[in-house]
Every structure is written in C-alpha cells, then in structure tokens.
Amino acid sequence: MNFRTALLGAAAAFVLAPAAHAERGADGEVKVFYYQAVSTLNAYLSSGTKDVEAGSLVLEPLAGFDQDGQLFPRLAADIPTVENGGVSADLTTITWKLKEGLVWSDGSPVTSADVKFTWEYCTHPEGGCAQGAKYEGVKSVDTPDDLTVVVTFENPKPYPYQPFTGGTAPILQKAQFEACIGAAAASCTEQNSKPIGTGPFIVTDFKVNDVVTLEANPNYRDPAKPAFGKVTLKGGGDALAAASAVMETGEFDYAWNTQINPEQQAQMEAGGKGTFVNAFGTLVERIEINMTNPDPALPEGERSTIKHPHPILTDANVRKALSMAIDRQTLVDVGYGGAGRPTCNLVPAPAFQASDNTECLTQDIEGAKALLEGAGWTDSDGDGIRDKDGKKLALLYQTTVNPVRQDFQALIKGWWNAIGVEVELKATDPSVFFGGDAASPDTFQKFYADVQMFANNFDGTDAEPYMAQYLCDKIPGPDNQWQGENINRFCDPAYEALKATLSTTSGIEARGEIVKKLNDMITKDTNISIPLVDRGRFSAKSNTLDGFVMNSWDTELWNAQDWSRVK
C-alpha cells in the first residue's frame, strides 16, 4: 500500500516541524470529533478510550508515553530508573520527583499529597475505580516532602512504571475530589465533568455524550502554549461521518478512530482537505482457538470446560493448517487499508519485544491440505469435508457484529472450505460478546464456539500482564463465573515456567526476549491463537492542523498543547 508509507512519512514530517507558536490562544478554535461521544472526563470512572483521551486534555499523569512508546516526564521532573537511583535496587520502590512550581488550573500548587490522594481515590474498595489494575501491587504511597512521591510495592516490580503513568492514570486534585472518594464518586457530577487539572485546557462546558467545550488553561506551565484558545470536542455518529467531517466537508480539524473501508479511505484522501494518520500499537485482530469441546450436547457447566478436550482442535496440525490457509494481506486490503498490517504475532510492538516471526504471512492452501492429509484428515465420504475417526472437520466460527469482521468471516470461510473444512458462521452483538454476563451463552469467555475472532491489546508498553492471560489459573469456567482471561483454555507447564521468569527479570531487553518467546509459544509453536491483523490507530486530520503527532501508546491528544493552525 503506497499511500500508507506516504502517511508514515507525513507523520514523521510533523514530528520534525518546529513548534513556532507565538502566543497562547492565538490560533482560535480547534474542532475535534470523537464519534464515540465523551461520557466523563474522569478516567478513573470509565476506561473507555474516548473518555480517557478527552480527560487527558485536562488531567495529566506523572509521565506519559511518546509516539515511540518511550516514557517522558509530564508532571514528574524526570523518569526514575535504577541507574539514577529513582528505582530501588530490590525493585520494590520507585521515587518520583514533581516538577517545581507546578500549579493547578485554579492556581493552587500541585503537591505530592495530590498524587497520594489519587492512589487512595482509585484503590478505595467502594469506588469502583476503572483503572484499579494500574495500582495493583502497590503497598503504600508516601510523601516525604511536597515534591517527592515514594511508591512501595508488595513484591519486587521489574516494571515499576504502572502507577501514575499514561492517560489512564492521571493525577487528581485532592482539594476538588476529597469529598468524592469511595461510594460518593458517582455523585460528584460537577467534579467528574469539570475536573481541575494541570493540562493545557480547562473545561468550560460539558454536555454528556455530546460535546465538551474547553479553553486554554491560563496557568499552563508553558506560557506560550497552547496555541488554540478553544477546543470543541464533539461526539455522536459513526466512523464514516467522522472521517467525512474532516476529509470531505472540513467541518472538523481532527477525527478520532476513523476506521472505514479502504476504498473510502482512498476516495476521501483524494479530496485533499485532510490526511489519515496512523500508528501501530499492540491491538491485534486474531482468531482464538477453543481447546475444549463446545458441543451443545454436553451438559451446561461442562460445555467448553477443561473436562472435555476439543475433539479436533487439540490436533496441532489442524490448527496450523487453519492458520496457513489464511491470506492476511488480503484481509488487510479488504478490511483495513491504512489502518492495519498483517502480522503473525500477538505482541507486534514495540520493537524490543516484538517477535520477528513472519512465516504465516504467505498463504499456503496446498501446504495446509498436505498437512491435513498427512495428519490423517481425509475426505473419506466424498462430501468435500475432511474427516478422521468419524469426526468431521466442521467448525462454528463466531465473532461480533461488525462489517469488517463479517467480511473476514466470509473470506476465511471460503479459504477453510478450500482446504476441506466446513464452517458455520455466527455473529453476536458486541455488547453481549464482550459483556461478560455469566448468564449469557454468547460471551467470548464462555466460548460456545470452536473458533472466535476479536481484537485485544495491552495498556502501555509492558506486555507482562498480557502474557499472563494464558496461564492455567486464568481459564474461565463455572467455578470462577467464567471470568478468566485464558479463553483458549491453554495450559502448558513450559509456558508457566517462562512466564514466572518474566516476573523476576528486569531490564527492557531481557524482558523483551522472554516476551518474544512467550509470543512464539502461543502463535508459531502451538497456533492456539492465530493473529491476523495488527490494527493501528487510524484517525483523520485536517491539512490546516499543525503539530499533530499520532501516538499509539498513550492518548492521541497527548501533545494537544503543541497543536497549532497552519498559517
């Protein structure tokens, strides 16, 4: 795809462009479109990406991730490491220093008490904090002085940068939120809609699920920024309308997540009013394979549980053949265009932990047929479907209702039919599929199908919790109300051991090597998960918006303070 490389080049050009702002608020209004409208600006009450990103215009964490996934200080003076003494040698404490002279938008100083309060706010048992995972394993947060925060972990943390980093874990002002802790969190409408922050903008008006109006923060730490005096963050509609509003009608300067089909991408780009920007992170569309038997004839409570191994998919050759039959580039060209790239890995980025496995990228129908033939799966009754020991190669293939996924289903069904596998398709409403309702038969955790397709990723750049999903004790079943994350019901002692090693290994490179091995065990070696497409972030940007840099590791609005109007 030629235009994709062009896009990457364009993105790079913006990074290099000098930020030549003269004066705060001089460039007037910037209009931003989030087709999934913003519900709240408090990231601790909603982990919806749209809410986190909108909130990031106002609230900031101690450190954020840049476009390459590198941590950079926001409220912190610098990034603590073992080398600079910020992280203790036993990996149990991390000490953050706040920038000096920081003030909230109301003019009061930012202190370590605010940071500590934020931790208390999110870990209160009745608060229902959506980002509780960010503070997992934190034993205490101490404030030796106004500018110093010491986070102590219960166990050594090889990766101590989870708390207070990224758009999902911003710092709240203690004075404002003091009364909103615990069960009162939901009643604090005013606070959640108009939080006092340190970011470049402050909220002037908030219409729930509709539009947020912001203006430049008069107390922002860089007196020349932001260049825009006003931000309108509009919501509602769909991706196509969002893309059109930037690329065709020019009503908006930037539209988030404009995932539309490739033909329309090309047509809109030709209009010349804007460009699509993309960046690849860790979101991977994949087919997950059920290692247990989902046969509806089994009694409820035993269906899709480890009691009954899958009759055909436990055969590694079948899984491999299924993967070989897929042409991932075609999937990208049909469904994603610039918003995707084919991949064979569950952890496709950042580079230090992304496996170089590319052997699946070439479709090999004949090879798949031969593999099945060799494994004893032959078409003994001449109906076009392979069988072995009286078991037919017939699969129920489920996913969510989504035009791209239905196209994928149709294409993959065709390829699998070509290698002698019968496929029945099923599509479930996403709110049910991802709903996690233990009573519903259609959730992805219940997995009452043979294979299922969806996308998953991990927060930030640390893949450890992500790889932990494939541990034996995370298998969902009736005993844990189907809440586990190991939806393949994969269980391998070698994998368990390697994952344990990761938990005690520090050092980016060393951890990256382990993640690569874990990744290969799940994909290349066992094919229990068949990665298809690395889905990037894909948004539309007006040609008159300057300074925008796409970021797939933090919020897309991460550098809104640097935006300006093209002169």
Binding site: A37, G48, A130, A133, N209, D210, V211, D437, N457
Partner: protein
C-alpha cells in the same frame, strides 16, 4: 368530562406502574452488560468492583424499587428545589447513569431541546403540508392533484428514512456542501448569522421527518374528508345553494378534522420514537440518540428512565386525544 379525565388519570397509574415494571424487567433481561465497551485490558476483579459501585450487582427487584422511589419521589424533590431554591432533597441519591455518572434527568434536560427543535419543527411543517394536500386531494378525488398527492404520501411512508436521509446527506451535504453533516448542539440563535446556521443544520433532518409525517397525516386527512364529503349533510348544504368554499371550509372541514386532530395528538409521542432513526442518521445528539447510546452500552438507569418517559408521553397523549375527541365531537359523551 372532568370526572372522565380524572378517572382516566387514575387508571393510568396502575398502567404506568405495570409498564415501568415490564420495561425494567425487559431492559434487565436484555443482553449486554454495562461494562461491555470498556477495554479487555481491564481485569475481571476490577470489573466486579465497578459493577458493585454502580449498584448493578443488586437484585433486580431491589434496583426496581430504588428506581421507583428515585423517579417518583427524589427527582420531583430535586425539581422543586431547582424551581424554588429549597432543599427538600437533601442530597439524596438521584438516578445516575451508569455510563457517565451524571444524573439521568440532567442528560434528558440537555438532550430535549435538540429533539424538540427538530422533531417539533418537522411535525409542525408536516402537519402544515399534510392538511391542505389531504383536503384538496379528497375534494378533487382522482384528479391529477390527488394522484400526485397520493403518490407523494405513499412514497413518504414507503421509502425508509435511513435510505432517503443518507442519500440527502450524500448529495446536499457531502457533494454540494450546502449543509453541515454534524448537528451543532452548542449553537444558540443570537443573530441572523447563527439563525442561518441553525436553519441550515435543521434543513435536512426536518425535511426527511416532515415528509414522513406529512405522508401519514395527509392520508388520514384525505380519507376523513372523503368520508364526510359523501355524507347527506354536505348534499343538503349544497342543495341549499351554499357556496362550495363555505361547504368545504365550514361543514366538511369541521367534521373531518376531528379524527385528524386526534391522530395528530396520538402521533406526537411516536414521533419521538421515529426520530431515533433520524437523529442517528443526521448525528443529532437528541433524546433518541441518548437512548440508543444507552442501549448500546446497557446503561440501564438511562434506558429505563428515558423509555419510561416515552411511555408516560404516550399514555398522556392518548388521554389528550380522547379528551380532544370528546370536546370536538359533540356526539361523543364520556359519562
């Protein structure tokens, strides 16, 4: 009449209570979870805590009675407080949206103006178009005007609004660029320029909705007028030598508009429902869009409250239609 009205109002109470229970159970049975749109990166324990904080893990009847209390007691108290500056509510828990943690009535208050502006204007224009067309069509039955009017009406409710709406957007907003594609809810009319902008952004949705409404009402008007034109009293009036204009305007219209008025009253609440589709197509963040959005993320308090308000509207307008009929048609006596 008064006794009838009071009796109907009293009868509406158990009906509404039953409706609220049915809606609550339905919405509760409906597939989906309030946490389905949060990323998979959020672990199960955190999800459990979030559910508990929403109160979503409570048994359904507990939530129902809490909702009843909030809807019929606490929210009115807040309403009184807001009007009179009193403090009867004393900070009692309001109906809070699970998704946004904002009181549902605040959301409704923010959304209603958009819906009323667009739906109200469309309905009004629809009625204004429909009446003359319906009357004249009936008066000149089988004339070319009637044929054209019939075709217009038929086409109006035959062509799905999501089809016409999208085509109109493509032609007039995208290709010609005459109208905006996104409805600006922050726009307030202060001067000629903003008025022009308002009219521009309302043009397409109002056109689509008004045509749809006009189609239906003009059909009713036509058949009602036709029925009356065939009555003896019209023949008598003509025989008396009364002018055609007077016959139609004075006699026929007065009698034939009675059912039309009730149809118009009955139609109003259903228009809110129909507007859901229009709001989706034209990206108007009105009450219908709020409902669809809430359904999509299983935001039960919002779905329950908004649908119940729709139900109240329907019951209310049914009553209004009945009373109107009684007032307008002397033959109808309710006691």
């Amino acid at each position: 009449m008064l006794s009838f009205t009071i009796r109907r109002l009293l009868a509406a109470i158990p009906t509404l209570l039953l409706i609220s229970l049915v809606i609550f159970l339905l919405v509760d049975l409906a597939p989906g979870s309030p946490l389905s749109d949060i990323p998979l990166t959020v672990p199960p324990e955190v999800r459990q805590k979030m559910l508990a904080a929403m109160g979503a893990d409570q048994p359904v009847m507990v939530r129902y009675f809490l909702w009843l209390k909030q809807f019929f007691w606490i929210e009115p108290l807040y309403g009184i407080d807001a009007l009179l500056g009193t403090d009867f509510a004393q900070g009692a828990q309001r109906i809070i949206s699970w998704q946004s943690r904002v009181p549902v009535f605040q959301i409704i208050g923010e959304r209603l103006p958009q819906t009323l502006t667009v739906v109200g204007t469309a309905y009004l224009i629809g009625v204004l178009i429909a009446l003359p067309i319906g009357i004249y069509s009936a008066y000149r039955q089988y004339s070319w005007f009637d044929q054209a009017g019939t075709f217009f009406a038929m086409a109006g409710f035959s062509v799905p609004t999501f089809f016409t709406g999208n085509i109109l957007i493509l032609i007039f907003a995208v290709n010609l660029g005459w109208f905006p594609t996104i409805y600006d809810t922050n726009l307030t009319v202060t001067d000629w320029e903003s008025l022009k902008q308002m009219l521009l952004q309302m043009a397409l949705p109002v056109t689509v909705l008004a045509l749809f409404n006009a189609a239906e009402i003009s059909r009713y008007t036509r058949s009602s007028v036709l029925e009356n034109l065939g009555q003896d009293y019209v023949r008598t009036a003509r025989a008396k030598g009364m002018g055609e204009g007077k016959v139609v305007m004075k006699h026929v219209l007065r009698n034939s508009l009675i059912p039309v008025v009730t149809v118009i009253a009955l139609g109003l609440p259903t228009v809110f429902g129909g507007a859901i589709v229009t709001e989706q197509i034209f990206k108007i963040n009105g009450i219908g869009a709020a409902l669809i959005g809430a359904i999509n993320v299983s935001d039960l308090p919002t779905v329950q409250t908004v649908t119940f308000i729709f139900a109240v509207l329907i019951v209310m307008f049914n009553l209004i239609a009945d009373i109107l009929y009684g007032i307008l048609d002397p033959r109808i006596r309710y006691d």
